[in-house]
Symmetry: D2
């Protein structure tokens, strides 16, 4: 299946570091959320448009492997790809890169709720991803 | 005017520290929120009860003076007092203490919204605070 | 291999929620860190003792599956178990429980650094975990 | 005394919102830190250069008045000015603007530590600010 991809640029903020002098691991998941939003924007289907249509994207699984922790003021990029595992599961793979160095690899899986109930990925989003 | 007070106990979590090796200042405002919730609980009028009655407590001003930054695993206490400045302004003073040492002093001011509109402090809360 | 376990109690703070009205997923990883610290405390080998000996525990992998998101003021517990995958990998499994309901399942993997270099799990910690 | 100023642009991230549907007040202090770093960069004296010279900028007071809370995806700007209150106190005023609307006003005060001891604002920084 084809995968739509984007590259998102970011700089580490001081408040994202911890007393070990590196980015606290919980903050990587916040970076991933930014990268996800950026990809959906580029795809032409930003979150707010989903919300307007009554769809809520809910994270159900997240995984990260950190190889080289990011530090304060590091300029890094997140290479992101979106794909559908089936008609219910919206998935993302991420590579966090510091220059040419792999800082971390991650993936997240999401389902979609409408009126609080699990629903299929809307057709127009499914098409945007898979065409 | 009388002031109702409580003392709230807390320990610093690792993820609340920053690369300077101390608690990031933004996290003090999260500690204050916990201390506020604790006082309202003890007063017999917890947040969720307010929400059930349609009242939303909104922070409109916050101030802190940090004298001795907290570190990872510090056991500290927050001495909190509540008072009303007038029939619209709900205020709190805080002293963050590390043993006998003053770590920080703070205050916050809040207004109350009902249906998105500014409203007077409900009578029963006003009485609880001032009686 | 035997697994040492603890049960850690926690309440959701307001600042841990997001605009979907539930705990933001990144905060689960902060809860897990608290639960880990609690287990190491109970085991008699808290983080600060490791630091004093020059050992730094570094997270290299984290995974979570969220089934029922936590909400503001939820009282939940984290059932945690520690085990060693080999002489380098310190691992934890977690079950986040809301009453009898499974809120989330997670695991994290950690390595240990001394003077910035990967080192074996110290013997005394390895024994505490595996005896 | 003259004041050096900058305007910093930012968008609200989802993870910065809370269950009231707006940016949690603690996060404004993180935005201010970003705006401060941006101003020091533009002034030609970024934080990392201070650190290299052994100077640590420590926040000792922070104040905010929130008039119109920011929401998810709001594009806002922070107008920041730096000034010295005396030879020890580095101060910043901030106006957070959402279009033409004032969202919040804030100030922060900082001292400078060298080898853990309070020190005067280094001459070159003092000059950059006051010339």
């Amino acid at each position: 299946m084809p995968k739509k991809t984007t590259t998102y640029l970011r700089k580490v903020n001081f408040y994202e570091t911890d007393a070990q002098g590196v980015v606290h691991h919980s903050n990587y998941f916040r970076y991933l959320e930014e990268a996800r939003g950026f990809l959906l924007d580029k795809l032409g289907y930003p979150y707010f448009k989903m919300h307007e249509s009554g769809f809520f994207v809910v994270l159900i699984e997240a995984n990260i492997r950190i190889k080289h922790p990011l530090k304060y003021q590091d300029d890094f990029k997140i290479y992101t790809e979106i794909y559908t595992e089936n008609s219910y599961s919206l998935c993302f793979n991420y590579a966090i890169l510091l220059g040419e160095k792999m800082s971390a690899k991650a993936y997240t899986k999401h389902c979609i709720l409408k009126d609080g109930k699990l629903t299929k990925i809307p057709n127009n989003i499914f098409s945007l991803i898979n065409d």
